[in-house]
């Protein structure tokens, strides 16, 4: 399926997620200019590049919450999507567990508990409204919310922001485990982080992501 410029409707059958000659402008600023990208099925693709090079725009296009001005985004329709956004985007009044249950197909408390614990959330934090949790705890909830379900395309936009160095390794291990076999797009500033995920790295040039190096 494709999402084409200006229409947002499926056009051609395809499974692989691709950005084909995508141009995206915000007002007069060209963020992406005839940009091509293919995501490997069942593998992590990492996008790296300086601020303003269009990393988050690519993430938004892949998630279907932004449409290209020109070009097409292929292969996202019909997929089960999940994301760790740059911001946590949690429901502040809900508990950590209920934020996760909100996105699960089957309202499975034990499943949500299990994953939150695996991601390093303490038992006492599970049932507290997330607005009362620390930044690191909230980030964990956002990560678990994206990974506890069965999404087959996951976008992670700088997922480890706000996670302290001491607990990052364990959380990374959880994320790696949950991404195994899934198609994922990882937006990161860290080459070593991309490496630890065994990701194919795509580096954007400073200007409009015009030339992606792999």
């Amino acid at each position: 399926m494709t999402r084409a410029a200006g229409e947002g409707r499926p056009a051609v059958e395809a499974r692989r997620v691709e950005l084909r000659k995508v141009t995206r402008r915000y007002d007069d600023t060209v963020v992406l200019d005839r940009f091509d990208l293919k995501l490997d099925e069942g593998r992590v693709t990492a996008i790296m590049g300086p601020n303003g090079s269009g990393k988050t725009t690519i993430a938004r296009l892949v998630l279907g919450i932004d449409a290209p001005d020109d070009g097409t985004v292929v292969g996202i329709d019909g997929r089960r999507l999940a994301a760790v956004f740059q911001e946590n985007r949690l429901c502040d009044h809900l508990s950590a567990v209920n934020n996760v249950r909100l996105v699960l197909d089957h309202d499975d408390r034990a499943h949500a508990d299990h994953h939150l614990r695996r991601a390093g959330l303490a038992d006492e934090a599970l049932d507290r409204p997330v607005r009362t949790l620390s930044g690191g705890q909230r980030r964990r909830v956002a990560i678990v919310r994206a990974l506890a379900g069965d999404a087959d395309l996951v976008v992670l936009d700088e997922p480890f922001t706000g996670i302290d160095r001491g607990s990052k390794a364990a959380l990374e291990a959880y994320v790696r485990d949950r991404l195994r076999g899934r198609t994922a797009l990882l937006v990161t500033h860290s080459a070593t982080e991309a490496e630890r995920f065994g990701a194919r790295v795509v580096t954007l040039d400073a200007k409009s992501g015009q030339e992606a190096r792999e």
Binding site: I65, R80, F85, H93
Partner: protein, 240 residues
């Protein structure tokens, strides 16, 4: 607060002494005495119950219908286009015009309910519409990406976002419902209502009764506001 209230009651008492005519300005003591006479009577409670029921019904209908219409208008552009001028017109029409129109068109027993409904409806519609438009776009994107089912999204994202706007509408709306509802009862001289008691007070130059019933109205309005706001707090996003 108590001291402030005591100060103003004292001012009222002094002015009443200075005026020296109970039918123009009853003293606080006379009003309290009148309330003491009214409170134990069956007639007082049936009068309160009747007005309370009718005005509360008008408010409740406006809260529900206004919210549903706002939600519908946010979903269907055509509803928004059709309703906006109508709601603006309702907002601008004087209360007295509504009251007289309702007296012409409907049973006088429904007058207070319909008047309260029509006065509160634009307030609820306007506030809830604003709340819907002010929802966090990032949370709506999240719901869209994860394909959260509509019912879950409404409970987890929409209602918590709109709740403060709805609460503000209720706070204003309860007071408006009582003001307009009692005004309708006075103009329509609705049998057995608080408005009729106010009308009688005017006819018999009984300012003690006028003040006593006014105190009852204010107390009922404040009690209703407290109860409504407590109920609104029970909506998703409000209690925790």
């Amino acid at each position: 607060m108590t001291l402030v209230a005591a100060f103003w009651v004292a001012v009222w008492q002094i002015v009443a002494w200075m005026v020296g005519r109970d039918f123009i300005l009853a003293s606080p003591l006379a009003v309290i005495k009148r309330l003491g006479e009214l409170a134990p009577t069956w007639d007082f409670w049936t009068t309160v119950g009747l007005s309370l029921g009718r005005i509360t019904l008008g408010f409740a209908l406006a809260a529900v219908v206004g919210s549903l219409l706002a939600a519908l208008a946010a979903t269907l552009r055509v509803v928004d286009v059709l309703l906006s001028p109508l709601i603006s017109a309702i907002r601008s029409v004087p209360v007295a015009s509504f009251i007289i129109l309702v007296l012409l068109w409907a049973d006088s027993g429904k007058l207070a309910t319909i008047t309260a409904f029509l006065i509160v409806l634009p307030v609820v519609y306007g506030n809830v519409s604003e709340g819907i438009h002010q929802r966090d776009r990032k949370m709506l994107e999240f719901a869209s990406v994860f394909r959260i089912p509509r019912r879950r999204r409404i409970l987890a994202i929409d209602i918590p976002a709109v709740r403060p706007y709805f609460a503000a509408a209720c706070r204003i709306g309860v007071g408006l419902a009582w003001k307009s509802g009692v005004a309708a009862e006075v103009i329509g001289v609705i049998d057995g209502s608080i408005g009729e008691r106010l009308y009688e007070a005017k006819i018999f130059l009984d300012s003690a009764s006028l003040f006593a019933w006014t105190i009852v109205i204010v107390a009922l309005s404040m009690a209703c506001e407290a109860i409504v706001l407590r109920l609104v707090k029970q909506l998703p996003g409000g209690a925790s």
